[in-house]
Subunit: 355 residues, 2 copies
């Protein structure tokens, strides 16, 4: 797996052509699993962790679900490569920063990644463009079955799948959708939506999961509860609520267009102008401006810009991606310059424009 | 004289090709004169003002100095046309807003305007691009002599030319240069320069003269004293100081480029980006951004933009100009939209670019 190649292309989930993709960026499912014959990672010895890792490396090499998996020794990657995989949503920040033998098996289309020795021995992740939770679940469940044919999972008849952290016990499943909600944020309705979600035990996080800020107006909505419900029930709980939030965001956008089209048009157009001309720009400002541009493109206020490219830019302008694209480590100020240069090049390259 | 034609072209003084024109926008000379046989305007009856006006209309029609003058009855113009002439620097705000018979004779190249019944019976104005005070003085002096061949000025052997306001008695001359000093403003050195100017009895004003704000980082420097000095001495007083200020501004620009080129480049480039994409924009923000762009063009930080066009835009984006260009009266919000539309059209019209 060549990191430079990865850096200049995009995963399936960024294509921006899935269902409801003007608002639902991506859907994600992960299953936490552990081997019955080993202690959890936080209790395992170095030797045991190496054995767990070897087990799942072999399993993933032999897994036949229609795509080839590429295995990476995460503990042997340098910090930029690890951060790169985090930015790409292929590994968690925890897998990037923890110690010891660990790895990830990645499908070339980036819709599947199997993390080994993260918090749990195995985390199966399926990521899809747009609103595709069912498709994620079907593929995740199939991979889970294929793995279970080869290993013995830690499983209790009473509790279900056993996990390192009690919050994952039961189904071990976390289902989430990444929503782009700039109009709800702009009209200050977002907090009301979040309070409603918390009441039905759904969690809200930023672009990079737990603890990360909702930069770029991206919000990840996922289940809090894994125990005492079936996978189908957990999915249904999210599936009931996502179309409502999508509808709220659409209504907020329609109202913005109706009540202050000029202001909105001005805002998204200037955001585009700044991204096309800045000579140095922070990651935070980039996310903020790209968010406006993304909404502008979806509302036909900015012509000739491909929403898939805008999705790309959210990821490609992250620190590790920029360093991969430039082929060298860059300090913060150098990254701000490289980011501006990259944005100008992508946004003013006419061969990339149009939908 | 067709106002719509005027609105879409520019006076000689905006061409941006005179001496030191990266910093000295224009040079201006005005002579205040009164007829010996009439009271000053503030004491004259309506009938007397009409007689004064008729006198100078005839004089200006017959004046032979190489250019034809076009006479406008300012009191018969509507308020937009009067404001238009103010924005264009062809008449003063006072002439636009005072009452009674009054007029202006304008040369087609806009370098000469003779205001009749402003504060004084006659004000001869010569306006030139760049640092051209001597040329202004020579032409103004010649016109003054030609007028004096035909009328009898109020003149005292003791005091010199007599004027309505004592501050103009003597030479009746005000010489001024319009300077663009964005780097001195940006580096907060401008106040020090002004304090020094005040000590040597020079006044500092904004783009539209007395009482106007220094928007767009434009500063008009002129003599305070008209009495007890010859015209040559007054000119010399300014001519000693202008090259020094020009040098300060150049040094400030050089230091900005040396110490924070990236920040400066970013600032001017973003200013350009916003002007190219805004959908609605106030006059104040436009002046502010155009000022950055003008400096950027002069420092070669923005390619393919003609500084003469930027000079134009400072004037053409003023309220009355926009209404003339659009051919209809516009409310403030409509003007902001028309301004943004006009800026986008001019700045992204490639046939206008390049120096």
């Amino acid at each position: 797996m060549d990191f430079h190649d990865l850096a200049t292309r995009s995963g399936e989930w960024l294509r921006g052509n899935g269902p409801e993709s003007d608002i639902v960026i991506s859907s994600r499912l992960r299953l936490a699993r552990n081997l019955a014959d080993f202690p959890f990672c936080n209790r395992a010895s170095d030797l045991e962790k190496r054995e767990i890792e070897a087990t799942f490396r072999t399993v993933s090499d032999d897994l036949e679900f229609g795509e080839d998996l590429h295995y990476l020794d995460v503990d042997k990657l340098d910090s930029i490569d690890r951060q790169f995989l985090v930015e790409r949503q292929l590994i968690s920040r925890e897998l990037a920063t923890t110690d010891g033998a660990r790895g990830v098996a990645i499908a070339l289309s980036e819709d599947v990644s199997l993390m080994v020795n993260e918090e749990d021995h195995l985390r199966i992740q399926v990521l899809r463009s747009g609103y595709s939770l069912q498709a994620c679940w079907e593929l995740g469940n199939r991979i889970d079955d294929l793995v279970e044919d080869k290993v013995r999972y830690a499983f209790s008849e009473e509790f279900g799948y056993l996990t390192a952290c009690p919050t994952n016990v039961g189904t071990g499943m976390r289902a989430s959708v990444m929503l782009h909600l700039p109009a709800l944020a702009m009209t200050k309705q977002i907090d009301r939506v979040f309070r409603a979600l918390q009441k039905i035990q759904l969690a809200v996080r930023g672009l990079y999961g737990e603890g990360s800020q909702a930069s770029g107006d991206f919000y990840q909505i996922s289940n809090n509860v894994t125990l005492g419900k079936t996978e189908a029930e957990i999915l249904r709980n999210i599936e009931v609520v996502v179309p409502q939030i999508v509808q709220y965001e659409r209504t907020a956008r329609t109202e913005l267009v109706k009540e202050s089209k000029q202001t909105l048009h001005d805002r998204v157009s200037r955001a585009y102008g700044i991204l096309c001309t800045a000579q140095t720009i922070s990651s935070e400002e980039t996310m903020h401006l790209l968010s406006s541009v993304r909404m502008g493109v979806n509302l036909n206020l900015i012509p000739d810009v491909n929403v898939g490219m805008i999705n790309d830019l959210f990821i490609h302008t992250q620190p590790a991606h920029l360093q991969k694209i430039e082929g060298q480590p860059l300090e913060s100020e150098e990254r701000n310059i490289a980011r501006a240069t990259y944005l100008r090049r992508r946004l003013t390259n006419t061969s990339e424009s149009a939908n």
